[in-house]
C-alpha cells in the first residue's frame, strides 16, 4: 500500500487451513489482501499487513481463523492504561 508497512512479526492472526471450507469470505472482507485462495482453501499471503480488525474471523463460519482483534490506536491504548481497561477510544 503505497510503501506503507507497519511493524513486522507482531500480528496475532492465525489460520487453521484444515478447518477452512473454502467459502472465500475472508478474502472478500480483508481490506489489506492478507488472505488469498490456494488449492480451494484460504492461505495467509501477507501476515504482516494484517491490522487485526477481525473482519475475517467474524465472517468465518467454519471458525478456521483467529486473531486478538483491536484498534491500532495509541490514544485508545493510553486511555486503556489510564482507566485500567481494554484499549478504548474513550467515546
Amino acid at each position: 500500500m503505497q510503501g506503507l508497512r507497519y511493524i513486522d512479526g507482531v500480528v496475532t492472526l492465525e489460520l487453521d487451513r484444515d478447518a477452512c471450507t473454502g467459502c472465500r469470505m475472508c478474502v472478500a472482507v480483508c481490506p489489506h489482501a492478507v488472505l488469498e485462495m490456494a488449492d480451494d482453501r484460504a492461505r495467509i499471503a501477507d501476515r504482516d499487513a494484517c491490522i487485526e480488525c477481525g473482519a475475517c474471523v467474524r465472517n468465518c463460519a467454519a471458525g478456521a481463523l483467529s486473531v486478538d482483534p483491536g484498534v491500532g490506536c495509541a490514544a485508545a491504548v493510553i486511555q486503556g492504561w489510564l482507566t485500567g481497561t481494554e484499549p478504548t477510544c474513550g467515546c
Binding site: I7, V10, P31, H32, I51, C53, D68, C73, A74, C91
Partner: protein
C-alpha cells in the same frame, strides 16, 4: 485500525434529523410497510459545508441520521438494499453515488459513528442489522434476499449469522462508496482494487488536521496564557517563554502535519520513531533560526522537548491511519513511551538549568 480516533469516531450527538422531514428528503414512496422517505442524491452546499465542520470538530452533534429504511429514486421490490451507518457523512457518501439509480437504504443505529469505527466498537453489528431488518419489515418491501454492506462493516457483522437470523444474504460491497456504481453494474462483484483500503496523501492530510485540535485544548491554551502572564509580570524573561511556546507549536505541527504528510518517506516503521525524526529535524531548524541566544542547556531543552512531543503526537496518529494493528501499536508504545517520558523530563531539567544559570 482506521480513523478510529479520527474525526468520525466519537459520536457524542444528541440531535437527530427527523424521519421524513429532513432537508435531504424529497418525498416518499408507498410500500406494504407504509410510506418510506425518498432522499436526494445530490448534495447541497449545506451538506458539503457540514463535511468540513465535522472534520474540524465543529458541530459533530448535528450529524446523525435517524436509523431506518429510506429510498433513492423510485425503487420497487427488486431494487438493491444498501446498508450503512447513521453517521451523516457515511449516509451522504452513499446517496451521492446513487444518482440516477433506484434503491433502498437501510440505516443502522451506530450512534452517529462511521461504518469502520462502529464495526470495531460493535454498534455496526450483526445484532443491529438483524434488528433493523425486522423492525423495518424489509422482507415485506423487497422480494429478494440480498443486503449490500460496506466491506468495512465486516469486523462487526457475521454474514452467516445474519442469514440464519433473517434469511437475508450479506454481500460485502466495495470499501469506498465511489466504487459502488461499478460494483452494482458488475452484478455485485468487487474487484481486488475495490477491496483494498488506501491511505494516500490526500487521505492522510484529511485526517491529519484533526490531531491539531490539541492546540485548541483549553488546558493547553490555559498553560500558554499562564506562561505569557508570567513573562508579562516580569517573573521570567520573555525569551525562554516565547521559545517554549514556539517549540510546543512546532513540535505539534511536526507530529500532526509533517509526519502524516511524509509518512511513506520518513524512515522507520514505528510512528513514534518517525515523529521523533521529524521533531528533531524541525527543532534543529528552530534552533538555527532562534537559538543563537541560547546556551547549551537551553538548546538541549528545545531539541529534547520538540523531539518528545512530536514523537508522542505522531504516535497518536496511528489511530487515524488505516494500516496499523493493535499488536504493532503496543509494540512501539512499550518502547517509545518510556523514552518520550525520559526526553520530556530531561528537557524540563535542561530548561530549569538554562533559566537559573
Amino acid at each position: 485500525m482506521s480513523e478510529c480516533c479520527g474525526p468520525a469516531c466519537c459520536g457524542t450527538a444528541v440531535e437527530e434529523y427527523p424521519y421524513g422531514k429532513a432537508p435531504y428528503v424529497r418525498g416518499s414512496v408507498s410500500t406494504l410497510v407504509g410510506d418510506i422517505p425518498i432522499v436526494a442524491t445530490g448534495l447541497t452546499t449545506a451538506d458539503r459545508l457540514g463535511v468540513w465542520q465535522v472534520r474540524l470538530g465543529i458541530r459533530r452533534g448535528h450529524y446523525r441520521i435517524l436509523p431506518g429504511l429510506y429510498a433513492v429514486g423510485e425503487p420497487d421490490d427488486t431494487a438493491p438494499v444498501l446498508v450503512t451507518a447513521n453517521y451523516k457523512l457515511s449516509f451522504d457518501a452513499l446517496r451521492r453515488e446513487l444518482a440516477g439509480r433506484d434503491g433502498w437504504l437501510l440505516i443502522l443505529d451506530t450512534r452517529g459513528v462511521n461504518v469502520w469505527c462502529a464495526a470495531g466498537k460493535g454498534t455496526f453489528s450483526t445484532d443491529e442489522l438483524v434488528r433493523q431488518v425486522r423492525k423495518t419489515g424489509l422482507a415485506n418491501v423487497v422480494s429478494h434476499f440480498t443486503l449490500v454492506l460496506p466491506q468495512l462493516g465486516a469486523p462487526g457483522v457475521a454474514a452467516h449469522e445474519v442469514r440464519a437470523a433473517t434469511g437475508f444474504r450479506v454481500v460485502y460491497g466495495p470499501v469506498r462508496a465511489a466504487d459502488l456504481p461499478a460494483f452494482l453494474d458488475d452484478r455485485m462483484r468487487a474487484t481486488p482494487e475495490m477491496r483494498r483500503v488506501r491511505f494516500g496523501v490526500a487521505d492522510r492530510l484529511t485526517v491529519a488536521g484533526t490531531e491539531l485540535v490539541i492546540l485548541r485544548d483549553p488546558r493547553v491554551l490555559t498553560g500558554a496564557a499562564a506562561m505569557v502572564i508570567v513573562a508579562a509580570l516580569g517573573l521570567l524573561p520573555w525569551q525562554p517563554i516565547l521559545l517554549t511556546l514556539a517549540a510546543g507549536v512546532t513540535a505539534v505541527l511536526a507530529g500532526a502535519l509533517i509526519v502524516p504528510f511524509a509518512l511513506p518517506w520518513i524512515p522507520g516503521r514505528a510512528f513514534a520513531f518517525k515523529g521523533a525524526l521529524a521533531g528533531a529535524a524541525v527543532a534543529l531548524v528552530l534552533l538555527a533560526i532562534a537559538g543563537g541566544t541560547l546556551d547549551v542547556a537551553g538548546s538541549a531543552a528545545v531539541l529534547l522537548a520538540v523531539t518528545a512531543i512530536s514523537s508522542f503526537t505522531a504516535m497518536n496518529f496511528t489511530g487515524s491511519s488505516t494500516f496499523t494493528s493493535l499488536s504493532g501499536v503496543l509494540w512501539e508504545m512499550r518502547r517509545a513511551v518510556p523514552l518520550q517520558i525520559i526526553a520530556a523530563t530531561a528537557a524540563l531539567v535542561a530548561l530549569v538549568v538554562s533559566v537559573l544559570w
